[in-house]
C-alpha cells in the first residue's frame, strides 16, 4: 500500500518506530511534531543524535556511558572506592545517583542473563568486574543491585558464586515491601522475600 506521507516524513516515522515502546501511531505523532518545529530546532535535534556515538563511550572502569574516561563518578576522589555497586544498565546507575544514597563506585553489567536471547555470562561485563576486584587485591565490598526479576536474581547468584570463589565480600540489596505499600496487597513471593530479608530492631 503506498504511504500517504512524503518519503522524507515516512523515513523519520520508520526511524522513530525503532525505539522501544514506540509503535507506528506514536512514531507518526512524533515525526509530525518535529516537522512543525522551526528548522533550527529540528537541525539541533538531528545533530544531537549525529554526535552521540562519536562523543560517548564506555568508562573503562565502570563501563557506564560517559564523555570522559574515567567517568565523573570514577574520577571523583571523594567516592569510597572500597565499595562497588553492580547494576544492570546505565539507567539504574542514574537512578542510584539521583537518590544520592550511595557514595561508592559502580559497575555496569549491560544486561542480565537471558539465555533465550542468547545472553550468557560472556555477554555481560563480568570479566571486567573480576579484573577490577583483583586490582584492588580483593579489598572491596561488592553490592549486587540487579533487579528482583528472575533474570536479575539468577545474574546475582552467578555473580555471588564467582565472587565467593575469590573470597570477595559480597552483599545483595534487600527486596521486599515497597515504601508506602499496604501489606494486604503484596503477593506471596514478595512477602516471602520480605520476611527472609528482615532486619533486627
Amino acid at each position: 500500500m503506498p504511504s500517504a506521507f512524503p518519503p522524507a516524513l515516512e523515513r523519520l516515522i520508520k526511524n522513530f518506530s525503532k525505539l522501544p515502546g514506540i509503535g507506528e501511531k506514536s512514531a507518526t505523532r512524533l515525526a509530525l511534531q518535529v516537522l512543525r518545529w522551526p528548522e533550527g530546532q529540528a537541525a539541533e535535534f538531528a545533530e544531537s543524535i549525529a554526535v552521540l556515538h562519536s562523543r560517548i563511550r564506555l568508562c573503562s572502569s565502570c563501563h557506564t556511558f560517559s564523555e570522559q574516561d574515567p567517568c565523573p563518578v570514577c574520577a571523583d576522589p571523594r567516592r569510597d572506592a572500597s565499595k562497588i555497586c553492580v547494576v544492570e544498565d546505565p539507567g539504574d546507575l542514574l537512578a542510584m545517583e539521583k537518590a544520592g544514597a550511595f557514595n561508592g563506585l559502580y559497575h555496569v553489567l549491560h544486561g542480565v542473563l537471558a539465555p533465550m536471547d542468547g545472553i550468557g555470562p560472556d555477554q555481560l561485563k563480568l570479566k571486567e568486574l573480576m579484573q577490577r576486584v583483583e586490582q584492588r587485591g580483593g579489598e572491596v565490598e561488592v553490592i549486587i543491585a540487579t533487579s528482583s526479576t528472575a533474570a536479575g536474581e539468577a545474574t546475582a547468584s552467578f555473580l555471588s558464586d564467582m565472587l565467593a570463589e575469590k573470597g570477595v565480600r559480597t552483599s545483595r540489596i534487600a527486596c521486599g515491601i515497597p515504601m508506602g505499600m499496604d501489606l494486604k496487597y503484596a503477593d506471596k513471593m514478595t512477602l516471602q522475600r520480605a520476611l527472609e530479608a528482615r532486619i533486627k530492631y
Binding site: L113, P115, G120, A151
Partner: protein, 257 residues
C-alpha cells in the same frame, strides 16, 4: 462473557507494541497458547511478577472475536519456583526448556503430557538443584518423544538388535543407533558410547521418581548433552539461542578434571 480458563506455565514473554506483552503458555488443556497482556509493560501492578518464564499459574483469557490473539484477563500464580531463580545454573537450564517447548510445540497443539513433564521438571529442580543437569537431560529426551521423534537409543534402528561393544554409530537422520553390520547413510555420529545410549533410554522411559537412581559419569552426561543438542538442532533446523549460552558455560564444567 465467555472466558478460557486453564492452568499454564509461562514459557516466553515478548514486548508487543507500546505497552503490551505477548505471552506464550504451555497449558494443561489447551496446548500451547499465546495471549496479549494489555498494559503489562506500562504498569507492573496488574500482572506483577506473574508473567516471568517458569511461572505456574491459573489464567483467564478473553478469546478474540476474530481469529486473532486472546487477551489475558486475569492470572493467579500458583508457584514461581524461587530456588530456580536463585541458582544461575537452574535458571539457564529452565530457560532452555522454555525455549525448546516453545520451538517444538505448535500453537494450539494439544500437549497435556508436556504440561505434566514441565511441571514435574520445574518442581524437581526447584526442590533439588543437584540433579538439575540429569533432569534437564530427561526433559530434552522426553520432549523429542512427545514431539513424535522418539529415538531408538539402545537398539539398532534398522535391524532392532542391541549393538555389541562399547561404541556404536548414531544416525541423526535415522533417529537411532546403527549397528556395525547395518551402517547408515547421511549424518552419522561415530563412536557413541553404548553406556550413554543405555542411560538415554533410561532417561526416556523410566518412571520419573526412578530417574535419580541412574548413575552417569560426567563424560557420559556431556556426551548425552551433545547428542541431544545435535538432535534438537537437526530436527528443528535451527540452533535454539539458549544452547549457545549453555554450551559455553556448562560443557567446560563437564570436562574430565
Amino acid at each position: 462473557m465467555k472466558f478460557i480458563k486453564d492452568s499454564a506455565i509461562v514459557v516466553t514473554g515478548r514486548d508487543l507494541g507500546e505497552s503490551d506483552m505477548l505471552i506464550t503458555f504451555i497449558t494443561r488443556e489447551h496446548g500451547k497458547m499465546k495471549a496479549v497482556a494489555k498494559g503489562a509493560r506500562r504498569s507492573r501492578k496488574r500482572f506483577l511478577n506473574a508473567l516471568e518464564p517458569c511461572t505456574l499459574l491459573d489464567f483467564r483469557i478473553v478469546p478474540s472475536r476474530s481469529s486473532g490473539l486472546g487477551r489475558l484477563d486475569s492470572v493467579e500464580v500458583s508457584e514461581n519456583y524461587p530456588a530456580i531463580r536463585s541458582s544461575a545454573k537452574c535458571f539457564m537450564f529452565a530457560s532452555l526448556c522454555c525455549e525448546l517447548s516453545d520451538l517444538w510445540i505448535h500453537e494450539n497443539d494439544q500437549a497435556p503430557e508436556l504440561f505434566k513433564l514441565f511441571q514435574w521438571y520445574l518442581e524437581s529442580i526447584d526442590k533439588n538443584s543437584t540433579n538439575a543437569l540429569r533432569h534437564t537431560l530427561a526433559f530434552k529426551t522426553r520432549l523429542l518423544a512427545l514431539a513424535g521423534y522418539r529415538q531408538a537409543w539402545d537398539r539398532c534402528v534398522i535391524c532392532g538388535i542391541n549393538p555389541r561393544g562399547s561404541k556404536v554409530g548414531f544416525g541423526i537422520d535415522q533417529g537411532g543407533c546403527v549397528c556395525s553390520s547395518c551402517g547408515a547413510e547421511g549424518m552419522l555420529l561415530k563412536d557413541v558410547s553404548t553406556g550413554t545410549l543405555r542411560s538415554l533410554a533410561y532417561l526416556d522411559s523410566s518412571g520419573l521418581p526412578a530417574l535419580d537412581r541412574l548413575k552417569m559419569t560426567r563424560a557420559s552426561m556431556k556426551e548425552a548433552w551433545q547428542l541431544l543438542s545435535a538432535l534438537h538442532r537437526h530436527l528443528l533446523q535451527r540452533t535454539p539461542k539458549s544452547y549457545n549460552v549453555l554450551d559455553s558455560t556448562l560443557l567446560p564444567e563437564l570436562n574430565p578434571s
